[in-house]
């Protein structure tokens, strides 16, 4: 390295050259345009379907039936939304279920995972090896779907309960791995020792010393968990038959094949009303409106998520 920092005899000329060289650092205008075009188009393709569905949800039902799905509708309409807000009992309930499992599940995940990861991140924890193995072995081998299903339904009796939507996905070895790495790198044992010398117990140290400096890590796994709960439909597919416990994504799944479902569970006053509703039901646009309503919270939150996810990915990729 030393020989490179030799005294430059022509500082002025070199500066000039550096400016010229800087351009080489960029792509040529032609390839730059190609790069923007390619990446820009792909990026647009990633966002486009969502925009499309938003447009469809604001399309007039008859116009849609006549012309098919179209990005510039012949006639705009908010019927789908007014309809949903009028008859959306099931939708509201599903929103509630999803919100509930997202909040409770994420909190549980944060508590259990951070406690576990913290303990196995401490070099003075005597049973560290054993409990690390207990967690990480599950990344390698599992009983499989059928035994898990039988345990959840017949041993733990969670079928058709809210807990069937929360517990099975509340801990993962992967998030423990991320958190452990985080605690290991961010919280040296010396900090803990100093806290203990001041007379704090292990839990006090964890609560007042460790957690405050671990917020980025907590945010990462918290967001992972929240997103998982919000988007989950698989546990409902396995364990939930009761319509009152159906989360948003599963409701969408049911509606996809059967728009009647939302009607049957709409809790309308009279039976006569109901048939009338079926006739005037904006079926296609309603579905799309539901997709929009289920996605909007994520769309608004995700640019904010992104930073933490990228961070989390990078943290998770670093070992020890």
């Amino acid at each position: 390295m030393e020989h490179r920092t030799a005294v430059d005899p022509h500082p002025q000329a070199n500066k000039h050259a550096a400016k010229k060289l800087r351009n080489i650092h960029h792509l040529s205008p032609f390839w730059n345009a190609i790069a923007h075009l390619g990446i820009g188009l792909f990026s647009l393709a990633c966002v486009y379907p969502f925009l499309f569905v938003v447009v469809l949800s604001f399309t007039d039902e008859t116009a849609l039936a006549k012309n098919g799905y179209s990005i510039i509708p012949e006639k705009w309409s908010v019927d789908a939304y007014t309809y949903l807000f009028k008859t959306g009992d099931q939708l509201l309930r599903s929103y509630g279920v999803t919100l509930f499992i997202t909040v409770v599940g994420t909190l549980l995940t944060l508590i259990i995972v951070s406690l576990y990861a913290y303990a196995i991140s401490r070099s003075y924890f005597h049973f560290r090896g054993f409990f690390s193995f207990v967690a990480f072995f599950t990344m390698l081998f599992g009983g499989g779907l059928v035994p898990s299903y039988i345990v959840v339904t017949q041993v733990l009796h969670l079928k058709d309960t809210m807990w069937a939507l929360i517990l099975p996905m509340c801990v993962s070895a992967f998030s423990i791995l991320i958190m452990r790495t985080f605690f290991k790198t961010m919280v040296p044992d010396a900090i803990i020792e100093s806290g203990k010398i001041d007379g704090a117990g292990e839990f006090r140290v964890f609560l007042y010393l460790v957690l405050p400096i671990s917020l980025p890590g907590l945010a990462t796994i918290g967001l992972f968990a929240a997103l998982g709960y919000w988007n989950d439909w698989f546990n409902a597919l396995l364990y939930i038959d009761d319509a009152r416990l159906l989360p948003l994504q599963s409701l969408l799944m049911k509606v996809e094949t059967n728009i009647q479902f939302i009607l049957q569970n709409a809790g309308l006053a009279g039976a006569g009303d109901r048939t009338d509703m079926v006739r005037t039901l904006p079926a296609e646009t309603t579905r799309m409106a539901m997709v929009v309503l289920a996605t909007v919270p994520i769309i608004f939150a995700y640019p904010f998520f992104q930073r933490y996810f990228v961070q989390g990915l990078t943290i998770g990729a670093v070992k020890e």
Binding site: H26, N32, A35, S43, V53, Y69, L140, S148, L167, V291
Partner: protein, 312 residues
């Protein structure tokens, strides 16, 4: 006796940390370890008993490898293994290729603000559930209203029945998978590219290397170790399929099973639809065991290449 005393003393000294792992430990026992012996169902003629899981396990007769025999005699066994392996191979190869390509292009784009916007856009699909994605796909492929059929009729071709023709689905599934995963997959490669020591590029520039030469001779070789590791790690999971992709996107259409059924969907259907618990468990166990061997082998290979990157 002395050993026990010593052990109890250790437990006492570590009791705070032991209390901390307790909730997680109980969770792992209940949701991960308790199901493991349940895999023995694969060797039993499983009958539900009123007295619960344990009673059903004990009362059901042992049938040895019968369930596996039945499984491998069906045509399904061949199809699901073939589909799982071929799709995952395509996903790994194409996914890696495009993720690396995107990462390199993004890192070369001079306008950092625009690059950030592109990246934000590409990240979006990762945050959406497969249910939502299946709606997106439907808006393109719907037979009477879909965009694709509108386009086909517009250019004078016959509309296609997308949800009943098996021949399109390998392409559709691969495209949808790439669409959802490439933006997210590029993050690690981008991080690796950003991490490359700038002096390499400066030295190359001084030597008069063009942009292409820099990419070919610096960027790609510098991120090759990461690519190799990610690639091999992905191979470790090649026996596991993304249930959502294969169940939601084709809308669980029976006519498409030959090209959309993978091990995971087969196991699910055996459990919830056809009720063939024994065969379904056998398939699940087969998947778990092969997966286990693959991950171990993978880790062994990764360890040989770069100890740092190995899982354990």
């Amino acid at each position: 006796m002395k050993g026990l005393m010593r052990w109890l003393k250790l437990v006492g000294r570590n009791k705070a940390l032991l209390l901390m792992v307790l909730p997680g430990f109980v969770w792992f026992l209940l949701f991960c370890y308790l199901p493991m012996p349940g895999a023995l169902i694969a060797f039993k003629d499983y009958q539900f008993s009123r007295d619960g899981f344990l009673a059903s396990m004990i009362e059901s007769d042992w049938v040895g490898f019968k369930n596996f025999e039945y499984l491998f005699k069906t045509e399904d066994a061949y199809l699901i293994v073939r589909n799982t392996l071929l799709y995952n191979t395509a996903f790994i190869i194409l996914g890696t290729f495009f993720a690396v390509l995107v990462a390199i292009v993004i890192s070369e784009i001079a306008n950092k603000k625009l690059a950030k916007i592109y990246q934000t856009g590409m990240f979006l699909p990762h945050f959406l559930s497969w249910v939502i994605v299946s709606y997106f796909v439907f808006s393109f492929l719907s037979v009477d209203k879909g965009v694709l059929n509108q386009f086909l009729t517009w250019i004078g071709l016959d509309p296609e029945f997308w949800y009943s023709e098996t021949k399109f689905w390998p392409y559709i599934l691969i495209i949808v998978n790439l669409w959802k995963g490439v933006g997210y997959g590029s993050v690690i490669y981008l991080a690796a590219i950003v991490g490359i020591d700038k002096s390499y590029f400066e030295a190359a520039m001084i030597d008069g290397a063009s942009k292409w030469q820099q990419i070919r001779n610096i960027t790609i070789p510098m991120i090759t170790p990461i690519i190799v590791i990610m690639f091999i790690l992905a191979v470790g999971g090649i026996f596991r399929a993304d249930f959502g992709l294969f169940y939601q996107v084709p809308r669980d259409t029976g006519a498409l099973y030959p090209v959309t059924n993978v091990i995971d969907t087969f196991v699910y259907r055996g459990l919830k639809v056809t009720g063939n618990i024994g065969m379904s468990t056998a398939a699940g166990l087969y998947q778990a065991v092969v997966g286990f061997i693959l991950v171990l082998t993978t880790n062994f290979i990764v360890r040989k290449i770069n100890k740092e990157q190995a899982l354990f």
